[in-house]
């Protein structure tokens, strides 16, 4: 029993260190604060996949009562620890799709599960096959590729639209320069290859 407790403490302290290391990378003034605009990068770089709305919820929770434009580490740490711990405990590991192969987009539908206590949906990694399905949904004619305009339209007009900059950056990586087409299967596997996990 006490051993369990010890190891749980060890896990928490390791999670704390991880959060701190990521936070420190953006703490340019070394005063345990970061610019609120970089919080998304920090949270996501810790392996979480929130959408913009969910991110705002988290920021609202950790921001000062009078927002200063900066987030303090003391505020960030407990929230982020909770997030990462819940993710570790509550969610099946992404490498074992034990939930059974999801029917097309079914895990996508309850977009507002974030209202429930806990963050595990917000921060659950997106499996590669699910991502591919999303692209396939957009590729109505099942051509195996999307056209530049198609992808741009969906990404800048639907959901939480990309900025011009985000769009250009995505296209520069996604588009086949000779054909001006997005072969999304190649794109997805190229991008997930970079993922260390």
């Amino acid at each position: 029993m006490s051993e369990d407790k010890e190891s749980a403490e060890a896990i928490v302290s390791e999670v704390h260190k991880k959060i701190r290391a990521a936070f420190d990378v953006f703490d340019h003034e070394l005063n345990k604060t970061v610019d609120v605009r970089e919080i998304g990068t920090i949270i996501r770089s810790l392996g979480c996949f929130p959408n913009e709305g969910e991110l705002h919820d988290v920021i609202a929770e950790i921001e000062e009562e009078e927002p200063t434009g900066y987030i303090r580490f003391e505020k960030f740490l407990p929230t982020m620890t909770k997030v990462l711990m819940e993710r570790n405990v509550g969610v099946p590991s992404p490498c074992t799709p034990s939930t059974g192969s999801p029917s097309p987009l079914s895990p996508l539908s309850p977009t507002h599960r974030v209202d429930l206590p806990g963050y595990h949906r917000v921060f659950r990694p997106i499996p590669e096959d699910l991502l591919l399905q999303a692209f396939e949904v957009l590729d109505k004619q099942k051509k195996g590729h999307l056209e530049l305009e198609e992808l741009t339209k969906y990404m800048t007009q639907e959901g939480e639209p990309f900025t011009q900059e985000e769009m250009e950056e995505m296209l520069s990586a996604a588009m086949d320069p000779d054909k001006n087409l997005i072969f999304y299967k190649d794109f997805v596997s190229m991008m997930t290859l970079d993922d260390p996990r």
Binding site: I42, S45, E52, I126, Q133, F162, A173
Partner: protein, 731 residues
């Protein structure tokens, strides 16, 4: 903007066609998922990019610190060893640089007239006084990879020296409506960047004044060409081209960072003369430029004691190397007094007798006590340096509130001599010297105050309050400085009162950063022009460029890991008392920082450095094997010697180059042995004669029994290419 509208019109047309195909709700969910995923991906890239930057910067600054420690050690040897001791002899010449530079002698010494330009020479020709078309031809010639004949080089440098001597320490210049001033930061031998600036902005002329803010040389491969171009424009337009000295315009710094090697490689016959002349020229470079009495431009920065009036009065050329304060007089062994000062300078006459030397001679009369003193103060020095470094890095860099005072730093930089009289002697130059070091070496920090710059090892960190105070005191509005690489090429800090400008793009690695220059008119509002010299990088996606830069950073880091292998292993073993060969990743991160002290976010870097783990446990022996560094091809049995060599690669090269007094690039076996002896006393570790002999045997000697420094250093590189001197990709 116009084209954006056209695009979206097009999109709307397509819209109507495609929206019929995918049900809106499904499309939205799919888009959301892709956006969520992509934004996470970009965030991860951004984190990697920042970490890469941290790696490069940490390694760069650790190298500077190393350099200064080594230099302090030499200074220490000079002060504490008898003039006849062999260690002193080997290095004394670096402190005695100007003894052949007295006007009469050195005019003869540097005489270029005897050097014939052969008819076969196809490079550019210069005529003196130099003209603007000469200067433009030089630019063109260097663009086409031609070399300037050594006769012209020497002549150009001689003329430059003559001109620089009459320039004030601080150049006062003014803008007017027709003349915007262009300000460039560090170039570091990146000729490509200078050419690009000229291409975009035009060559210097009386209509187009320029300020070049120091660090023209080192690191890049065309430092000399940059100097020759800048000097020739300076000669043509002395009122419109302004060069400020940087911390790399220093012959001691050049030993480590490549400029010495570059010159000797390009001018085998006359390289040594060129270097001597440059050493002198560097000491005569002006220290700062003030625009319209309002904007101060200097290389590093300021400190709480910066006083431009004092600076305008110093004899700047006494500071041949800013790393060490000059002495009033020195006596070399032949009894000749060598002075750093020119004969035409009335203050140059020796005033004090060399009490200092006498004092250390008395020490040496009793050998025992001399060694005791040596050990004690060396350790004191090392401890002080290590302690402060440790503290500094623990809080990462720039933490204010260190207990160490500036005085401590000054003492440790000057030397750790505790002789009561030495202080007195230094006193008169101490303040001046500190002013100059602060100008050349300092960096701004976000906190108020002024603390020693322990990360670089020289100068200070100054805060916004110091900026306010110094600008107010001098009635200035803006400080423009360089000295630090910035990803965008420029950066404001201190409430936009301090502006950093850096003009060497791709400084750490292709794609690592943009370069920039400033244009400024009479309103004194800076306008920035950014660029990236390498054509290929502009086409890279964020992912590709992060990946590429990261690989190179990790390679440099792996080199560090490998060099500290035995320390790391023993640190890992402390976390592994049962000797299972496994440690947790948390312990791994702790051990990494404890040994390497680079202040890096190891937990973030973990995924880049550690491959497979067994249930979160790392097999550290296996990990070292998998770091997959090609070991050099030698049968050297002494692993610890090998490790020392990797760890102190740059120090070793610096000592080699110092010992190679005739700059031939070759040293004898005896000198080779002496180098190691010096290194081992610097590191306070034993390196046996036997191990050194082994090492000497394992490498190829030239037939005459000498060792080629370049070949030797190449043979013992862990990974091809020095971190900061990477060859550019050909494309």
């Amino acid at each position: 903007m116009g084209c954006g509208f056209a695009k979206s019109d097009q999109l709307k047309k397509r819209d109507r066609e495609t929206s019929l195909l995918v049900p809106a709700a499904t499309a939205m969910r799919a888009a959301l998922l892709i956006q969520r995923w992509y934004r996470q991906y970009v965030a991860r890239l951004e984190m990697r990019r920042r970490c890469t930057w941290n790696i490069f910067q940490s390694i760069e600054y650790a190298g500077e610190q190393d350099q200064i420690k080594l230099y302090n050690f030499f200074g220490y040897l000079m002060d504490h060893f008898t003039p006849a001791s062999s260690e002193r002899n080997l290095i004394s010449h670096i402190f005695r640089e100007n003894n052949i530079c007295r006007n009469v002698d050195w005019e003869r010494y540097f005489c270029y007239k005897s050097i014939e330009v052969p008819e076969l020479y196809s490079g550019p020709h210069l005529s003196f006084p130099i003209t603007c078309s000469n200067a433009a031809e030089l630019v063109e010639a260097f663009k086409n990879k031609q070399q300037l004949h050594s006769r012209y080089v020497l002549q150009l440098l001689g003329e430059t020296w003559r001109l620089l001597r009459i320039l004030p320490n601080i150049s006062q210049i003014s803008t007017c409506h027709s003349k915007e001033i262009t300000i460039c930061g560090d170039l570091h031998g990146h000729l490509e960047d200078l050419l690009l600036v000229f291409y975009k902005n035009g060559l210097p002329s009386s209509e187009k004044p320029y300020v070049f803010n120091g660090d023209f040389v080192d690191r890049g491969k065309d430092s000399l060409e940059i100097l020759l171009i800048l000097f020739s424009f300076l000669l043509v337009y002395p009122n419109d081209v302004h060069l400020n000295r940087g911390n790399h315009e220093d012959h001691i710094v050049n030993l480590r960072y490549g400029f010495t090697k570059e010159v000797l490689g390009k001018y085998r016959l006359h390289g040594k003369k060129i270097l001597k002349l440059l050493q002198k020229i560097f000491s005569w470079l002006p220290l700062a430029t003030v625009i319209d009495h309002k904007v101060l431009v200097l290389h590093g920065g300021i400190s709480d004691t910066t006083d431009l009036h004092l600076i305008s009065r110093v004899d700047r050329h006494k500071y041949v190397s800013a790393l060490r304060p000059p002495k009033r007089t020195r006596q070399n062994r032949s009894g000749m007094i060598d002075s750093d000062l020119e004969d035409d300078d009335p203050t140059s006459k020796p005033v004090d007798s060399s009490r200092r030397r006498v004092h250390s001679l008395t020490h040496s009369s009793s050998t025992g006590s001399r060694h005791e003193v040596q050990r004690r103060s060396l350790q004191g020095l090392n401890n002080r340096v290590t302690c402060s470094v440790e503290e500094e890095l623990k809080e990462r860099r720039r933490q204010a509130g260190l207990s160490q005072s500036y005085g401590d730093l000054r003492n440790s930089l000057a030397n750790s001599d505790s002789d009561p009289d030495s202080g007195e002697l230094l006193e008169s130059y101490g303040d001046e010297w500190k002013q100059i070091v602060d100008m050349l070496w300092s960096d701004p920090m976000p906190q108020d105050g002024c603390v020693p710059n322990d990360v670089r090892g020289g100068g200070c960190y100054w805060g916004p309050d110091v900026t306010e105070e110094v600008l107010r005191r001098h009635n200035l509005t803006l400080l423009i400085r360089s000295h630090e690489c910035k990803q965008e090429g420029y950066e404001f800090c201190h409430n936009r009162r301090v502006l950093t400008i850096f003009s060497a793009s791709n400084y750490y690695e292709v794609g690592s950063n943009r370069g920039a220059y400033i244009r400024m008119g009479p309103d004194l509002v800076p306008h920035f022009i950014q660029y990236q010299a390498n054509r290929a990088t502009r086409a890279l996606t964020l992912r590709q460029s992060v990946g590429r830069t990261e690989r190179s950073a990790l390679r440099a880091l792996r080199e560090k890991l490998f060099a500290h292998k035995s320390d790391l292993i023993s640190s890992f073993q402390e976390y592994d008392p049962e000797n299972t060969g496994l440690i947790s990743l948390g312990h791994w991160a702790c051990a990494m920082e404890a040994v390497l002290r680079l202040g890096l976010p190891w937990r973030v870097l973990r995924s880049q450095l550690v491959g497979d783990t067994l249930d979160g446990m790392l097999d550290y022996h296996l990990w070292f094997r998998e770091l997959a560094i090609t070991e050099p091809n030698t049968e050297l049995s002494n692993a610890s010697l090998l490790e020392t060599m990797y760890k102190h690669h740059s120090n070793l090269e610096t000592i080699f180059r110092i010992i190679d007094t005739d700059n031939s690039g070759l040293i004898s076996f005896e000198e080779f042995r002496q180098t190691w002896k010096l290194l081992s006393s610097h590191l306070q570790t034993e390196i046996s004669d036997e191990a050194i002999s082994d090492l000497a045997v394992s490498i190829d000697f030239n037939k005459d029994g000498s060792i080629d420094i370049n070949e030797f250093m190449e043979a013992f590189r862990l990974v091809g290419g020095d971190l900061l001197q990477n060859e550019r990709d050909p494309h």
